[in-house]
């Protein structure tokens, strides 16, 4: 095994050239040879996460198994003056787990034990590497589930969810990750271990857990998470509503919200998404000729569901829906959801690359914003597909492209900026569940003033005064501004240019 080769990636002296070997030795002493990756081709694989537009090789990757190891790794990095980047399954779409130059990636995938399940109090204590879906699978027999359900839940980890405050289709009714995290054990950026919050979810004093969740790995590394579990609903009805186009589907969703119904989830897939999914292993028999479909799920007491289904039918009909299908059994329901959750990956069928946007607008504005988004994509001659959490107003305009086509890449970036600007103009924000990461950092000024960001920096500085924990994420870079060209934003690291 070779020693790390810091020279090509070390920037601004962030990794002391002569200290690289010593750091590697120290890390090896903590996690063993098996838990340390330093070969160039090993590091190559870690150069990006779910966001492939940018890439940067780390100096080393460590795979700790305990909180004590994480703390020791952090202290070793501090001693060597090297920044570190926490990573879960690397499914994030904003580049939150992207290495920064000279950094050590702390990969939590081996910390995957469910430490305790307390069915009576509906809590569980898990290590950060526990896969989201595995937790729900493990407690299903107790009549419980873990409510936040990102579309990547088959792979993404609870630790990553905490970092990004991940949402999912069922956020509409059940809330995002922040509403389900009761307490966190954190390895602080100085290597100290701190417990925030309480299993009761009502710790006295400041809500430090609330501040930590969604901080994109910049305030410390969660090494143990106490989560709230939710009782499985008594009854579930899942409807598939067929619409002539996305705009009518959005209008129906707005009306459902406006009449005071609270479905568990409302998801819209447009025609291009339907086609991609139906070509994939997750095909669910969605009608290919539909302009859009709405998956609407209702849950709760059995006695209250039938009238709600009727209300949805009425609203659907009034909005030109051609058909309302109710899932006949659990198998069909699971199919609908697999189709929805596999949609992003299925886009791989359309083009080599995919840019998944993530913006939120007031729900009443959905129809007009969707129309604008389509106009922007058309104007830039881009292939756009939409699959999104309509009930939350959370859009995912997906642009399929080929990064090897430099001109197209430029148009993708340009259109992306215009889409975000349109969403902000409608009263929205630039990310609803994916996080800012590296992807959106230079768009933050669209939403926040320098004073707003300054307040956030105060929180950051209280936790991480030296800015060593996942630096360069979640805040605008000082070097570039939102108007800068794609290359200045780091896209020059894309191969084949």
């Amino acid at each position: 095994m070779s020693t790390p080769d810091p020279s090509p990636h070390a920037a601004e002296g962030s990794l002391p050239g002569s200290g690289g070997d010593a750091l590697a030795a120290r890390l090896r002493a903590i996690v063993g040879s098996d838990g340390l990756l330093v070969r160039d081709d090993e590091l190559f694989v870690y150069e990006c996460d779910g966001l492939t537009l940018e890439a940067c090789r780390p100096t080393a990757v460590v795979l700790p198994e305990t909180t004590a190891q994480v703390a020791a790794v952090v202290r070793a990095c501090r001693a060597a003056g090297v920044p570190f980047v926490p990573r879960g399954a690397g499914t994030g779409l904003s580049g939150g787990a992207h290495p920064v130059p000279g950094s050590v990636v702390i990969e939590c995938s081996r910390m995957k034990k469910i430490l305790a399940v307390d069915a009576e109090n509906r809590t569980a204590v898990v290590q950060p590497g526990v896969v989201n879906a595995d937790l729900s699978d493990a407690i299903q027999h107790l009549g419980l589930f873990y409510a936040p359900d990102p579309s990547s839940q088959l792979a993404c980890t609870i630790g990553g969810n905490v970092a990004e405050n991940s949402g999912g289709p069922h956020t509409l009714k059940y809330g995002a990750t922040t509403d389900h995290v009761l307490a966190v054990e954190v390895v602080m950026p100085d290597g100290e271990i701190l417990r925030l919050g309480s299993p009761t979810g009502a710790a006295s004093g400041l809500d430090l857990v609330g501040a930590f969740v969604g901080s994109e790995g910049t305030l410390g590394i969660a090494t143990e998470v106490t989560v709230r579990l939710t009782a499985l609903p008594e009854a579930i009805e899942t409807l598939l509503v067929i619409f002539p186009d996305v705009v009518t589907a959005c209008r129906a969703v707005g009306e459902v919200i406006g009449t005071g119904l609270v479905p568990a989830a409302m998801e819209i897939l447009d025609q291009r998404t339907i086609a991609a999914v139906e070509d994939s292993v997750y095909a669910a028999g969605l009608p290919r000729d539909a302009g859009a479909v709405l998956i609407c799920e209702l849950d709760g007491a059995a006695v209250s569901l039938d009238p709600q289904v009727e209300r949805i039918r009425e609203i659907a009909r009034a909005n030109q829906a051609s058909d309302v299908r109710v899932a006949e059994d659990e198998t069909q329901r699971a199919q609908f959801w697999k189709a929805r959750k596999g949609a992003f990956g299925a886009m791989g069928r359309l083009a080599p690359d995919l840019y998944v946007h993530d913006a939120v607008v007031p729900r009443a504005k959905l129809p007009e914003v969707i129309a604008q988004v389509c106009e922007i994509a058309d104007r830039h001659r881009l292939r756009l597909s939409n699959v999104f959490h309509a009930g939350d107003g959370n859009l995912h305009p997906n642009i399929s492209f080929d990064r090897r086509d430099e001109d197209e890449l430029g148009r993708v970036i340009q259109a992306g900026g215009e889409i975000l600007a349109a969403c902000v103009a409608a009263g929205g924000v630039i990310t609803g569940e994916h996080g800012v990461g590296v992807e959106k950092r230079d768009y933050l000024p669209l939403v926040f003033s320098e004073a707003d960001l300054d307040a956030m920096r105060r929180l950051r500085a209280a936790f991480d005064p030296d800015l060593v924990c996942n630096p360069g994420k979640a805040f605008p870079t000082t070097r570039f501004c939102a108007e800068s060209n794609p290359k200045a934003r780091g896209y020059d690291q894309v191969p084949f240019e």
Binding site: N121, D179, L194, R195, T200, G205, I430
Partner: protein, 424 residues
């Protein structure tokens, strides 16, 4: 420059800078929260609020920040302040999106005013704190809660965005008006419940809930604490989805809610069912059958009286307890003579007392809290006892972090000095 003369000089400087429309000197001898108040600041908009804070920072004049002044006893003992900064004139609903069910209100708007405005349009404000004059800003800053927490969850869940003026006078925004948002740090969580120690809330975007089609309040009287507890603590497991609020009340407060006198050991269960008519009827009928509960007309304001009890007592402790430990929490508190109000769904136990001997009563609360691993918050405590402890509990290893936060958000300690956890 001596501290005393310097302070006088600067208070006047602040007043002069801000002008009589916003700032006024108080008559000698005015007190608030046990502190002498010389200056009263009453900004009318965000810009004036920012000016106030800028001037206070510049002259290093600490203030106590108030909304409706309903919960002035919360937090650790206030340090020396020069004046009061009231948000009461920052009032009004700025925007109410009826289709989306979201609303922006100024911090000084009363909760009751907002609640009435939205109910008229089919929505509901998801917080029901005690205190008729409680403001939106005050409710957020104190993380206020009420019996309906059972259904609403904590208020922080419904805060979409906040406009906050920092101690420096910088006007900042976090969050937004949309219902799902991870753009930037979730600072709203940090401000909510921070008792105005990190910044002053100017306005808030809140997420509303659909108003229920039907609401029914029921009350059941139990002859013994044991039978009442057994039923109330089993409510959650009974999966009655329409239950919006449930409270079990024992001791002195129970009598006020109509527990028959002479029933020393009796307790009262108050339940509010709300939602679609089908499930409300189902659950109400079940309650009647199981407990002999009777429906109470709305005019009886039963929940309102319950909230008043929740905010009563010269000594009042809130224990947040895991469901499995609730039963074990209640007996020793009742035995020690506390009136006890339990929200089983939220896991909150309020122990209230008017006439217990303080040292002993506090020792009981501490012992119970430690036994059941409760999160203890002393909400009310006679002033003489307040200075002797951190009412939030010992912050332990988090103390440096808490100090660092205060230092960075309010370096001159002008906002509610001494109030927060570990800030003493």
């Amino acid at each position: 420059m001596s501290e005393a003369s310097g302070a006088v000089h600067s208070v006047q400087a602040v007043q002069q800078e801000l002008g009589a429309d916003v700032a006024s000197m108080q008559a000698p001898g005015q007190e608030l929260a046990g502190q002498r108040i010389e200056l009263s600041l009453r900004p009318r908009d965000g810009a004036e609020l920012a000016s106030c804070l800028r001037a206070l920072s510049e002259h290093e004049q600490p203030v106590v920040v108030t909304g409706g002044c309903t919960r002035m006893g919360l937090g650790n003992r206030l340090g020396d302040v020069a004046g009061v900064l009231s948000t009461e004139r920052l009032s009004g609903i700025v925007e109410f999106d009826e289709q989306d069910g979201v609303l922006q209100a100024m911090a000084g708007t009363r909760v009751s005013e907002v609640a009435a405005a939205v109910v008229a349009r089919g929505w509901e404000l998801p917080v029901d704190p005690p205190g008729g004059t409680t403001t939106i800003g005050g409710a957020i800053a104190t993380a206020a809660t009420g019996p309906r927490r059972h259904h609403y969850g904590p208020l922080r869940r419904s805060i979409l965005g906040l406009d906050v003026v920092l101690a420096s006078g910088e006007r900042t925004r976090c969050g937004g008006r949309v219902v799902k948002n991870v753009t930037g740090y979730d600072l709203a969580k940090l401000y909510a419940g921070s008792l105005g120690t990190l910044g002053v809330i100017e306005s808030a975007w809140l997420r509303l809930r659909p108003a229920p089609e039907e609401t029914r309040t029921l009350v059941a009287v139990f002859a013994s604490d044991a039978s009442g507890r057994a039923f109330a603590l089993g409510l959650e497991a009974a999966r009655r989805d329409s239950v919006r609020a449930a409270a079990l009340v024992s001791g002195a407060p129970a009598a006020e809610l109509g527990a028959p006198t002479g029933h020393a050991a009796g307790c009262v269960l108050v339940v509010e069912c709300a939602g679609d008519p089908g499930s409300v009827a189902r659950d109400a009928d079940w309650l009647v059958a199981e407990t002999g509960a009777r429906a109470v007309p709305e005019e009886a304001r039963l929940l309102g009286r319950l909230r008043e009890l929740q905010g009563s007592g010269r000594l009042r402790a809130r224990l947040a307890v895991l469901p499995s430990k609730l039963s074990r929490t209640l007996t020793p508190l009742a035995d020690a003579g506390f009136g006890v109000i339990v929200y089983p769904g939220a896991g909150f136990v309020y122990a209230v007392a008017e006439d217990v001997e303080n040292a002993e009563a506090l020792a009981t609360v501490d012992a119970v809290a430690s036994d059941v691993c409760a999160d203890l918050l002393i909400e009310a405590i006679p002033d003489e006892a307040r200075g002797a402890r951190d009412v939030f509990g010992d912050p332990g290893a988090a103390a440096p972090l808490l100090r660092s936060l205060k230092e960075r958000f309010d370096p001159h300690r002008i906002l509610n000095p001494g109030r927060g956890q570990g800030f003493r």
